[in-house]
Amino acid sequence: MDQRNQMHRHIANTRKSLFDQGYLDEQFIQLEELQDNSNPNFVEEVVTLFYRDSARFLSNLDQALEKRPLDFNKLDSLMHQFKSSSTSIGAKKVKTECTHFRNYCNARNAEGCKRTFQNVKKEYTTLRKKLEAYFQMSRQVGPIETACRSR
């Protein structure tokens, strides 16, 4: 019983640190609030969709950044889509880097775009690792437990 409580506390702390360290924002809480017993894996389903879509967006951006000359309108449009997805799941740091990228697009700054794109990918990878670890932990205690979160 004690071990279970420890697990719960660990999960709660992990979750809290994701917010405290700025990886996630209020939108993630909105997702959690939509999760219920009829749909106990809703948040993880949405996040999994996010990984899938992100792979596609980032790959498209990689390709677009290879072209010479750069098509800044296309880059901006692609990043807008990725930023929208990131915003929808509450990926705060990722969203910030996306904004920086779009600013460089508007300024037609190729070096800026390439540099910030590396940051976008880095933040995305970091967030993904943390979320995967968090959900894996949550699954170990059972899905119903994760729906009851402490704020």
Binding site: Q27, Q30, L31, E33, L34, N39, F42, E45, V46, L49, F50, R52, D53, H80, Q81, K83, S84, S85, T87, S88, I89
Partner: protein, 162 residues
């Protein structure tokens, strides 16, 4: 009684994630939901719905359309225009969703007849408010209505443009 029947919302968004989210938000708010991924599919659905629609098929009737603004092919704005220019579809209230808070864009949408413009990410409170949007639209007199001197003005509240 109309209030007891589930209101049917057609949601349009090209993003997988946003479609999943809006569907959930609508279902949690007790709407019946149909979700499509483009403006053209939305029109297909509405026209199909319209063909089979007689007073017997009131259950399928769409009570509100909520659409993303930025979509490839047909934008939400273009979809809005097509709906408002259609004699059969123009009475259906349309709400626009967008991640971008651009005043000229908001004005343009409202001028074209959108009931509301919601900033993404859309919240549960935005969605529960849609019920009021639908009811306000129903209480509104049709634009071609003329009142003569013997008629008293309507008591229903004026429509809100948020």
């Amino acid at each position: 009684m109309e209030a007891a029947k589930e209101l049917h919302v057609l949601a349009v968004d090209d993003s997988n994630i946003d479609r999943k989210l809006i569907e959930k938000l609508l279902k949690v708010s007790s709407f019946k939901v149909t979700v499509v991924d483009s403006g053209s599919r939305a029109l297909e659905y509405l026209r199909l719905d319209d063909d089979t629609c007689s007073s017997r098929f009131d259950d399928l009737k769409v009570n509100l359309i909520i659409t993303d603004y930025s979509m490839p092919g047909m934008t939400g704005y273009e979809l809005l225009k097509k709906i408002k220019n259609s004699s059969t579809l123009k009475e259906i209230p349309v709400v626009i969703m967008s991640s971008e808070n651009i005043l000229t864009r908001i004005d343009r949408c409202l001028e074209e007849g959108a009931e509301d413009y919601l900033l993404k990410p859309v919240k549960l409170s935005d969605v529960t408010r849609l019920k009021d949007t639908i009811l306000n639209t129903k209480n509104r007199l049709p634009r071609s209505c003329h009142m003569n001197a013997s008629m008293s003005p309507p008591v229903s509240p004026a429509p809100k443009l948020c």
